[in-house]
Assembly symmetry: C2
Homo-oligomer: 434 residues x 2
């Protein structure tokens, strides 16, 4: 057996501490499984004295992760510092510059600097592995980068943010309002004090931008992701969806179209009898449509110290076993430029919920506006809800056949201008599965 | 770039022909993705002249797959001949003896001879890759062998036979009887003329035996798999399951218990709101419970020429990229002997359906027999079905709390002996997910 693979781990938070404990406790079994022993040679963290359930006194200590990456006597640099600017990219670059492979869980780093870091890695004849950066413990990076290599992917999509999925699940199952649900999620640690990054869809967008590159062999383009969060999803929408045979999930979707590649994060209605619709709570799921496989689905824990450590370990043990694969699946020079498909050209079905003043001709006017935009309707539900308001308005739910985003926006602007609506129209995209 | 990786493909049926077309059509993209060109150097099949949609005249031809494996100028031997005896194992051994890596889709070969072939591969410093042997296009071999390397697995289970799942889906959705459903499946090509291998559970058992070895690091032991097929599943069972919040699937389960590792294939009731319960038709799914990840689920096509070719390609392109991993994940010497957990010791909930003669005291007698076996009941449904029989019997459905297989068998034998039953009692195991 070769001499042990020596790790330098920067960042000993929940994931890093879990990782360190596992590597110490399972030395023998991991050596058996990857054909080479793995050991920790150096660590870096904010606080040297904190109890992490593992004795770190035998590892070289560095106050500065960049210094660890640049100088420690290691074979692999494990970046668990986080953040797209500052110490994380500096340390990763320092390690790559020495020709060391890097393992990271840092989605922001990849989403912002993935291509330039992949180029640096390539120049130095090394690589960056980042299974933990997307969907936690689900092996979606390995699946896209290795298992699907024979396929042409047409769409990759999924539930990539546990906070949003937890909230939507509770809103549906318990009928709790968005704001109350958010407070609960914050109290339980599923949402940050400032929840914008999660519920605004930005976290999912970062992960999607990475998946897009792997799925389509193109450059990462975070700026082009269309993002709509879940804060406008109401209990009324969720109830209407259920009646129509749908469930609402925050989906992240990258899809090849005639005009380019769509990247979009938004609440979406999916068939309630689909496997994806059963993905509850903080669980994540990713589906891939491709020409040879049709559709495959992977589901599992999207976050958490142990699940993330499992993904980091998968990368480390791959390196110990001698695996070598370019950062983004192909050599950076082979990556295509990302060609954006505009959201206005998006094609699909739409759920539209209108609150309409009870007036003669209102509904005819709405129907005319839809027809003017060449939108045909699959179903129309107009019903007075008992116990709602003063009876002067009626909720109307429309489900369209396949149409374009531009047509729907145009129709809704016209309907709004006509003055028949109390409040803004609501629109939720319907995602066709399989 | 290194010189091309030269393949010898034995077997040009649906999968082999699909594979050959893909390798010819996508030479450039595959070279980009694996860093090394892949080309076909030699082929073997029954009929040289058959049109397979690909020109094979440029490849060296062998009438005999064993001769191809032994003598062709190749770097990798791809075995798509099939069968656990005869040409397939002979050719695989011939290739391994030359130190050539083997890629195969042959579950029977692995289930029967996996350990001895792994030992031969190890001695010759090469390996066998077999992603296509289990669950078609789902990357479960890669996931178990690589992505979960950091984990201790406690259970691997899933829907591994498309024929059975297709039949159970149609029986439920359309209320078709088993025999009619089987005829349809045969007509549509989803079931063989002799369907025993599929509906008897043997196909799933072969796949399970392979997964067990990878999940638990033990030797393959096909003979120890407990097997019960789907032919006794009735529409009444399916309807009763639905009423109780369950769906019936043929599950293959390998589970670590206190007394060893259970391997079992049988119809099972799973919660109707689970993702696994939504896996319809010929789709396969595999779930893995492990200590770091909790539960992950992979679903996708379990068979078909293109999906299987995708899995074979994944292995070939891994080899082109330089991956090397022992056949069964660890060196054969590190494999533990398989320690069987007896089915009688199996613990779980049970669905029991009895057809009881309408007599005073019959139900009390049944309840007493359950109590004597220390079985506590979660729910009891006794109901006269309209339009069934002459009113002399009543169907009774019992759901037990967790108990043992031995207790249930003992209780049912006693109930049968008491003479209250018209016909044999039915029993279906309930599988707890997550």
């Amino acid at each position: 057996m070769a001499r042990p693979l020596r790790l330098g781990i920067a960042g000993l938070g929940t994931v890093g501490a879990s990782l360190a404990r596992l590597i110490v406790d399972r030395t023998d079994i991991y050596a058996k499984r990857s054909g080479r022993a793995v050991e920790i040679a150096a660590v870096s963290a904010r606080d040297r004295s904190k109890d992490r359930g593992v004795d770190i006194s035998g590892f070289a200590w560095f106050d500065d992760p960049v210094e660890l990456a640049a100088k420690a006597d290691i074979d692999v640099f494990v970046e668990l510092v986080g953040g797209s600017e500052g110490a994380a990219p500096d340390a990763v670059k320092a390690a790559l510059n020495r020709g060391l492979p890097v393992v990271t869980a840092n989605k922001a780093l990849l989403a912002h600097h993935g291509v330039s870091l992949a180029k640096l890695a390539q120049r130095k004849n090394t690589t960056i592995l980042f299974e933990a950066a997307v969907a936690g413990g689900i092996p979606i990076i390995k699946t896209l980068r290795e298992a699907l290599r024979g396929n042409a992917v047409s769409r990759v999509y999924g539930i990539l943010n546990g906070t949003c999925n937890y909230m939507l699940t509770r809103m549906e199952k318990e009928g709790i309002a968005f704001e109350d649900c958010l407070k609960d999620a914050q109290r339980l640690g599923y949402a940050e004090a400032d929840p914008t990054f999660d519920i605004g869809g930005f976290d999912a967008a970062h992960k999607l931008a990475i998946l897009t590159s792997l799925a389509f062999g193109c450059e990462i383009d975070l700026e082009s992701v269309f993002i709509e969060g879940i804060s406008a999803v109401s209990n009324d929408d969720i109830a209407a969806a259920a009646e129509l045979g749908y469930r609402i999930k925050l989906l992240a979707v990258a899809q090849r179209t005639e005009s380019g590649i769509e990247q979009r994060v938004h609440p979406a209605m999916i068939p309630i009898a689909s496997a994806l619709a059963q993905i509850d709570g903080v669980t994540n799921a990713v589906a891939v449509d491709s020409d040879l496989l049709g559709s495959i689905l992977l589901a599992g824990p999207g976050a958490g110290g142990k699940a993330t450590a499992s993904a980091v370990l998968s990368d480390i043990l791959d390196l110990a076993a001698g695996t070598s694969i370019p950062t983004l699946g192909v050599a950076p020079a082979s990556l295509q430029p990302y060609k954006r498909a505009r959201m206005r050209a998006h094609e699909g079905g739409y759920y539209i919920r209108l609150t309409v003043f009870d007036r003669v001709g209102a509904f005819a006017s709405i129907a005319r506006r839809m027809a003017e935009s060449a939108i045909s309707l699959d179903s129309i539900v107009q019903r007075r809800r008992t116990g709602q308001g003063d009876g002067e308005t009626t909720p109307v739910v429309l489900i369209t056949h396949e149409t374009t985003e531009a047509a729907v926006r145009k129709a809704l602007e016209a309907v709004s201008r006509d003055g028949h609506l109390a409040g803004e129209p609501r629109m939720i995209r319907i995602e066709t599965l399989d």
